[in-house]
Symmetry: C2
Subunit: 261 residues, 2 copies
């Protein structure tokens, strides 16, 4: 064993004191270890354990590929035996691409995210195992785990590399703990215009369109203005944008607007 975990820096883990641990079984390439470390830190995971890394430890390529995720590399722990790497964990998940003969619960990463959050909330220590790059985990590793995680991807082509697999599990862990709306109209420093501002813009617009002969068929005018209102109303138009549009109207009309209202 080498490295010491120390107390978790919760500014790196989204405030979580005991986030899931990532365990790599017999990782082959330092590049992949480093990239996995980097993927982890993007997702607020900081504790990495390696069981019998092929090229030993420390590993220059791992450091180089961690690209700033030094906190993960520096605290990486090395183990000779799986049992020792897993000893303190209460919940162990193992990623595998192929379902196996074992009778085992199977999670998707989407399902695992909330499950791990629930585990952590009960102060359980959680680990997720990943196997060697080309061959994956063996049956004995599946037997050590409480459940399997399988990433549902294109059956016509499934070939994630190690860091990508770590990223997807980490991503789902992170997503399960954040509350970012799936969709927002991002107004940044702007603020939506008031209804009155917008209404006066439409009145201005209708007047200009009228005077420029845009409404060739009188009966269609209300419907056309409704359509035009819909164009601008759905974009959450801001105060500044109202000014911009009114300025455009003035310019288009050669600066001649004499507002009736």
């Amino acid at each position: 064993m080498s490295g010491s975990p120390g107390k978790v820096d919760v500014s790196r883990t989204g405030g979580v004191e005991n986030p899931p641990v990532i365990i790599l079984i017999e990782p082959q390439l330092g590049d992949n270890i480093g990239k996995a470390a980097r993927a982890m830190l993007n997702c607020g995971l900081v504790e990495l354990r390696l069981v019998r890394p092929r090229d030993g430890w420390p590993n220059e390529k791992a450091v180089a590929n961690a690209s700033g995720a030094d906190i993960v590399i520096e605290n990486t722990r090395i183990f000779e035996r799986e049992e020792d790497a897993l000893a303190d964990l209460n919940r162990i998940y193992v990623t595998t691409a192929r379902t196996r003969d074992a009778v085992k619960p199977v999670f998707t990463p989407r399902g695992l995210g909330p499950e791990m959050r629930a585990n952590i909330a009960r102060n359980e220590k959680v680990g997720v195992m990943f196997g060697p790059e080309r061959t994956g985990v063996r049956n004995e590793h599946v037997a050590m785990a409480d459940a399997v995680v399988t990433v549902p991807l294109n059956p016509g082509f499934t070939s994630l590399n190690l860091a990508q697999a770590v990223l997807l599990i980490g991503y789902e862990w992170w997503q399960a703990g954040v509350e970012v709306p799936d969709y927002q109209m991002m107004l940044n420093d702007s603020f939506p215009a008031t209804r009155d501002e917008v209404e006066r813009m439409f009145v201005h617009m209708e007047e200009e369109l009228d005077e420029s002969g845009f409404f060739r068929v009188a009966e269609k005018r209300p419907a056309m203005m409704r359509n035009i209102r819909n164009i601008f109303n759905r974009v959450g138009i801001t105060h500044q944008e109202v000014q911009t549009i009114r300025g455009m109207l003035v310019a288009l009309r050669g600066g001649k607007h004499k507002p009736r209202t």
Copy 2:
């Protein structure tokens, strides 16, 4: 422009005829292009467009790093101008790490998946833009898009590489179209034992435990058996496993079981 899109092979796209297109603006490294192609195909995305790739095209490193995602590389199209790369698209999303001054709707990848599925269902052609590796997209690219996609990750460390960003968007696209339960008890070829089989196992077990002096305090026996039942009941025990356990009981008792029932 080079390459020809041809008709999409829907066995590679999960059955979707017109999946979202991935557009890389000024990609720098062939390695990253290849890895992005591989990430795409994992998620059922097959159409890649490059705008002013730094090292031109074709690119040996892109081929090497695509690791089997040849169908993507072979059909990659090259453009000198963004406008041409985007011309046939109805919906354009742009990934960016930083929110900007533009007033723009913002999706998370989680929100974008179903949105793109809805777009595609209406036969709209969809594209997602990604910027150059170190610098990301510029404001002009944000202006070309209908909405921005920002991946909510660790504010304490956010540094996805290009292929990982493509993977996360592609992963959410794929997830939004599949129906894999978040959790399953995977029984594989086994079948859960019948209630009767399980009950007879418990009776057998209780008898053996009794005869071996396990129940030292008589009043606690029902509660202890309840706990024991709970251990085995929650694992979805199979017929084969019942046999295994009963065989264990017999062996432990030195082969002496004389069943009372």
